[in-house]
């Protein structure tokens, strides 16, 4: 029976996307630019997923935003905050540890 991987992928992406956005926003960027940058790196992030995520991170104080109206079209720029950097550092640490454990176990499996 073929199992739909979609819900598992969504679940796995939840944490990953938070870190990804926090890394991406080291310099201020607007939404469309973020999508394009990730696309160039080979990662497709749906816009309708990105914006609600940005809103949640902003509510928690990890990023901040500002509308830029200097050009014809107003653009909302986002950038990481001090709290965001602290959280990012912790999350990356957790991520590395998780990868280490996973690799270790996978290696063990190969030797079985």
């Amino acid at each position: 029976m073929a199992i739909d991987i979609g819900p598992f992928e969504t679940e796995m992406n939840r944490g990953f996307l938070q870190v990804l956005v926090l890394v991406l926003l080291e310099k201020d960027k607007y939404g469309y630019l973020m999508v394009k940058q990730l696309e160039e790196k080979g990662y497709v992030l749906e816009e309708n997923t990105l914006y609600p995520l940005l809103r949640r991170l902003e509510k928690k104080g990890l990023i901040k935003s500002k509308w830029d109206i200097s050009e014809d079209r107003p653009r909302k720029f986002y950038v990481i905050t001090k709290d965001g950097r602290d959280v990012r550092a912790e999350l990356l640490k957790i991520g590395r540890l998780q990868n280490k454990i996973l690799n270790h176990l996978l290696k063990e499996n190969q030797n079985v």
Binding site: N48, Y51, P52, R75
Partner: protein, 316 residues
Amino acid sequence: MSKRLENYLEEISHYLGTGKEKQEILTEIKSHIMEKAEQEFGNVGEESIERVIETYGNPQEVAEKYMDDQQIIAPTFKGHLLRYTAVLFFVHFALTVLAFIFKTRMLILPFFYIPKMDNFQALFYFPMIFIYDLGLVGIILYFVTQSRKDIRLPWPKLKLNWQKMIDKGQEKPKILLLILMFLGYAALVFVYITYHTLFFKSLNPGGVESLFSPEASRWYSLALLSILGAGVLAYLVKFFIRSEWVNLLRSAAQLLILGIVINRPIENAIREFFYFDTHLVADLIVALIALLLAIDFMKNLIILGIKAFRKKSLAQ
């Protein structure tokens, strides 16, 4: 602004409800769609907007993503919703039966008002009280969820073993019991045909005396025979159809018969011969029978609900 974009944002706006960030969200989406249209198609026209919207997702889906962390009722309260509703409905149901029997209205502040009803009104009133109770419990749990406080709600322990009741309902009907039921029923029918009543004041050898007036005797005896007859018939049907619906229909029919009896009071039905108020005693006996039948009906309804729920859960 493009007409298509305007409609799209309006639709998302409906799904977003009345949150204070709504306008900001819509401006964000609008800005993104226009940016993408210009960057990828070189202009912000109806056609390019249409193509961007197609990839952005349907309005309901888009709005839902903003509401991910907003729960109406916390998942941990789902069990409470069902259990509280069941308890409340049971009380409400019993009070409604009593109000119906005593032909009175009942007001219990601040939530319950049970009007004076006839048979058919009562029949429609029962599903309505269920919806009402579910709604009332839902509203309370909604406020508890929205308060975001760590509130520990009591968990009433209903010492009822539903599984045992379900298993009992599925037992194979016994032929011996059916024969006994038929014999007992036939004996009652025989008594009725002979004496035109099933309720006796005295059984003197010189002559039996009925408890009620002749008209009331006939009416109440036939009602009792119908209620018991429904029970025997349902047991017989179980030999051919093994379904919880048989029990549910049986108890519904019995309740209906009792309702018809209550709804047709007979003047001077009971002969005055005791030192106490015989009408009150009779009313209480009828109320007790009605309550037992109502509990039986509820039990069958819940068993059917549990089975349907399990079937659905298994199918998923």
